[in-house]
Symmetry: C2
Subunit: 295 residues, 2 copies
């Protein structure tokens, strides 16, 4: 596996964009939110979670905890920050034997943008024999070989730039691209491969970005417009083996203007490395109607 120490990673785009620096007040770090880890004018939600993950690990390490990895993160999104300066408060709530708990709050312009609680622990490495899954009812999903998948670009027919697609290397299964031609499959299911264009190793912090990095799976049902995350829960299960990850997002249930979506990431050795669920608001574009149900 590539060296994934903070020092060796410092030159990558993702690490520059998620750098948190001690601020003037104790327990409050500062971050410069990157305008290219963004969708249109707004900073990307998975990127923000990675910023909070980094701040949580820093705070836990400073407090003497020996739990280097985010194991679970529950984040509530109260606002949509703009690129530019923001602060991150990280409060270590408890250091236990197997886990450290950290609450983080991202603020911008005096407003709370995200409130997240993270559980830190130790994740199994690809070489960790004792850390194979013991039992599972989930199996890897099918996805077309990466070489026939199509890279998602920042330019797209929705009328705003999906800048984040230049910061990640997301290749969608052709079967997950029908919505771009106005012919969604109706299944609410998008699949592909994800990695970094600059070949940065995929560590737990990168997983926090990737669980929210695919297009909204509602695009595979009908053109839903902006689908802002209300709350995002992520479980990290293992440190990925080298290579791009397989990624899938599935829309589950849409009602009363809200939809829940689940995401899974699997590594090159068929190990489930991350799971996420989110509930998001549906903002219909002017003049658009929801499809009939059941479809």
């Amino acid at each position: 596996m590539a060296d994934a120490s903070p020092t060796s990673l410092a030159g990558y785009e993702f690490d520059r964009a998620t750098a948190v620096r001690p601020g003037p007040e104790p327990g409050v770090a500062t971050v410069e939110l990157d305008p290219t880890f963004a969708v249109g004018p707004k900073v990307h939600g998975g990127y923000l979670l990675a910023v909070l993950g980094r701040a949580a690990v820093d705070a836990a390490t400073s407090a003497g905890a020996s739990h280097p990895h985010v194991v679970a993160a529950t984040a509530t999104y109260l606002g949509s920050p703009d690129p530019g300066p923001a602060t991150v408060e990280a409060e270590v709530l408890r250091i236990g034997r197997t886990a450290t708990h950290v609450r983080t709050v991202l603020r911008q312009g005096g407003q709370t943008a995200i409130d997240a609680t993270l559980i830190l622990g130790v994740l199994p490495t690809p070489d960790d024999d004792g850390a194979a899954p013991t039992w599972s009812s989930v199996t890897p999903f099918d996805v077309a070989p990466r070489e026939v998948c199509i890279r998602a670009t920042s330019d797209n027919p929705m009328g705003f730039l999906v800048h984040i697609n230049d910061r990640i290397d997301l290749r969608l299964d052709p079967a997950s691209m029908r919505w771009t031609a106005g012919d969604p499959s109706g299944r609410g299911d998008l699949r592909g491969w994800i990695s970094f264009p600059d070949d940065r190793p995929i560590d737990p912090l990168a997983l926090l970005l990737f669980v929210d990095a695919l297009p909204p799976p509602t695009f595979d049902v009908w053109p839903s417009g902006w689908v802002p995350t209300m709350a995002l829960t992520t479980y990290l299960r293992a440190i990925p083996a080298p290579g791009p990850l397989r990624a899938r997002v599935l829309a589950q249930h849409l009602g009363s203007g809200r939809v829940d979506e689940v995401c899974e990431l699997w590594d090159s050795e068929d190990r489930l490395v991350a799971q996420a669920t989110q509930i998001a608001s549906i903002r219909l574009p002017e003049g658009t109607e929801l499809p009939p149900y059941p479809r």
Copy 2:
């Protein structure tokens, strides 16, 4: 639908046990944690979430919000409270047009036991024509008719009293009972029907209890011992129609001593009313080994 106003509910067991009262400090309520909403000597996690839900709704109402229902709750469990007095802090983070955000913290003996952020809004009622689901990729699961299901009792072969089973009316599908005879199905899948024994109407606060009220689905894999919740995320989707709910918990992935579980609750009119996911620790009983994988 039965009258579900706070006044009319005050006489039910669940409402007495979850009553939160203003404390001496502003923003801090007190609660007497009920020894019968418990598993062995420890208070039940879903019951605690319902207590926090009630405190959040109270705080939001006092602050002038018109969002009476919990729509999403993300809770991190740092400790296992005992029955007896505890405090609940509820801080309204933001009152928006469609949602109010409240952070709650339950403390006992100076220790933080749960840190939870709740999103409040408005849920559709059974009579709300405009609130039918618009699209869904999930369908109700099969479960045996309630009359052939078997009521879960507080007395059980695990060596401690599951008191909560006297406070809920949980009837498990016979196919979900094999673990009680030492013959788990290996599917990690438990299904049944859930309601209150005193016929209390099932409102959103009750859903917060019910999403964590089935036995751990790992029991359907092998005798896993205590499976304490690390983090629990709940999405409420609708106010249930009258009658018992169908409930299902499924274990998904077990590795490195942690398992994730998903839960769904459906009402008598085939409406999905609640979804939950949790990640929990596996504490193996002395001398027990995990089953081989894949099974």
